[in-house]
Amino acid sequence: MKIRYFAWMKRTVGVPEEEVAPPDGTDTVGDLVVWLRGRSPGHAEALAEGAAFGAAVDQRTATFDVKLAGAREVAFFPPFTGG
């Protein structure tokens, strides 16, 4: 599964993207966030509880209860500021 980070989260995590193989039981976006926090202090900071960030599963905005089943790409990013 490919994980992508955008804007300041990319800098805090330290990489723009990474391939990961989360353990069985990582069913939802929320589960994945919890698991990713353990990968490095940068991950823990970027994905901290209470940090304002959203997610997309296969390029569609997803809430943290969305199931990961079959997902190829999950992205994390701060609130959008385009326009």
């Binding site: 955008f6 997309a56 390029q59 701060p78 959008f80 500021t81 385009g82 326009g83």
Partner: protein, 156 residues
């Protein structure tokens, strides 16, 4: 209907001509052009001078998100033509960031749909602004006013 995400600047006159030319059912064309301001002005937060703005986006998801926003506008209003062109990359004050154009038989529909598109793309399309200021780089935080502006279009 047309959506483009590009690094290069766009030619407003040429873009608008493409939207209206040959369509004699358009009575009103409402247009918005967003530009880089030299000052960051957010309610009492900070007022830093901006030397440049860098727009990051999520290739692939951006195009899909903009197409969905455009399709939603076409569902809500009787429109003849819609166009969204959004740039990414580095831009200096005075440069154009985004163009939204809506052609409709009726001016009210054109104005409403244009405002809707601008409000929604600010909160629903994956773009992030990094400001280059005399104090260093800083990411632009989400603006509560933008959320409020987008929320007024949410169906009850």
């Amino acid at each position: 209907m047309s959506v483009r995400v590009q690094e290069a600047d766009f030619d407003v006159g040429a873009e608008l001509a493409r939207v209206t030319d040959g369509n004699k059912r358009i009575g009103g064309l409402a247009v918005f052009v967003g530009l880089v301001r030299e000052m960051h002005v957010r309610e009492g937060y900070h007022r830093d001078r901006i030397d440049a703005l860098t727009l990051e986006h999520y290739p692939g998801m951006t195009e899909t998100a903009l197409q969905e926003i455009e399709a939603e506008a076409n569902r809500r209003w009787p429109l003849e033509a819609t166009l969204i062109v959004h740039r990414y990359g580095r831009m200096e004050p005075g440069e154009r960031i985004v163009l939204v154009a809506v052609g409709s038989p009726h001016r009210e529909a054109a104005f409403e749909a244009c405002e809707f598109l601008v409000d929604w793309l600010k909160t629903k399309a994956p773009f992030w602004k990094l400001e280059d200021t005399p104090k260093g780089e800083q990411w632009v935080g989400a603006h509560e006013g933008d959320d409020a502006a987008a929320a007024r279009w949410e169906k009850k």
